[in-house]
Symmetry: C2
Subunit: 197 residues, 2 copies
């Protein structure tokens, strides 16, 4: 019942994560009724980002520059490398504010069913980078999902052969978490990883 262009806009808004038919309709009408300026800005930003954003030549995160701001920062310790799945994970670790090394962004995890193997994650590039920067410690911070753990083990095996320290971020009870509400798997890991006081 909408005209073709409005229908097309509603359909194409559905590519956004978490947007179903009802929200897409609401968004489209909102933009056309009341947010022409914002919609215009969004269309340009989207087009610009699509045309120009690629990958950092060093850590493979998303950026339109040839090297991202973290890789360009001379003050950061290139001998310590944190390996994460996505650019959002970089932001999360940066916001903790305690890591001053560099990152390597896989942009995914091993998933043979989807055709994502070591090549797609740039693991060859990772090995070269480790050698080139004389990395001494690699901290693997992939998600603690089945795929994240598998990816972690694969990378750990590869890097261990290069005689560097490979570690995994700790899993356990989150700060402020009450034991009563923490799931069994997490508690098992928390017990296993206990520290002497």
């Amino acid at each position: 019942m909408f005209s073709p262009l409005i229908k097309e806009l509603i359909e194409s808004l559905r590519c956004l994560p978490g947007v179903g038919p009802k929200s897409a309709q609401k968004m489209a009408l909102y933009l056309l009724e009341r947010e022409h300026q914002g919609a215009d800005r969004l269309a340009s930003a989207l087009r610009n980002a699509l045309d120009k954003v690629g990958r950092c030549s060093s850590c493979r995160t998303l950026t339109e520059e040839s090297e991202c701001s973290i890789c360009r920062d001379e003050e950061r310790d290139a001998t310590r490398l944190c390996i994460v799945e996505t650019p959002a994970d970089v932001i999360a670790i940066e916001s903790a504010g305690t890591f001053d090394g560099r990152y390597f962004v896989l942009l995914g995890h091993l998933s043979p069913i989807d055709g994502i193997g070591p090549e797609e994650l740039g693991l060859e590039h990772l090995e070269k980078m480790v050698e080139y920067n004389q990395v001494e410690e690699a901290i693997i911070a992939t998600n603690s999902t089945v795929e994240g753990e598998a990816t972690c083990h694969y990378i750990a095996e590869k890097l261990k052969s290069k005689n560097i320290n490979v570690s995994r971020i700790a899993h356990g009870v989150p700060m402020g978490g009450e034991l009563e509400y923490v799931d069994g798997n997490t508690l098992a890991l928390a017990l296993e990883g206990r520290k002497k006081l």
Copy 2:
């Protein structure tokens, strides 16, 4: 910590209704990491809709055509007019499938604080349309909010002077609704609008 173009994309996604900083970041990274095709389609759809979608010359709904499909439909009864706030309301009433008249879309409601008066809602155009189409019945289906009610009363006064039947859609207990969970205002309206059996 994101590069400028990615930051701009995240910022501009926030003009969408219901999208906060976290969802905007998630959407931007999702589009750039995994949905280049969808993002491309979205950018084009947005640009096309912005450039071409205007208002139906007759009912003032959003469309890129000079007259919308409902106004072009000769089989619909032009002497019955349903007045609604938004194009989404047209879709809602159409999906009920029992109204075969035409619509008039206000694209808003009277709101002096936001500078929305009778002119912005096209009420002069409405009066002309009523005369031109020799409308016999006008059904006002603005929302049952304070502003919607005020708009309804304003329009009703205007149209009554033209000697046509002006009615308001019924308010009451929704189908399948349990009395226990219906609010007091709705129940008061339901009692007031009781029908003889």
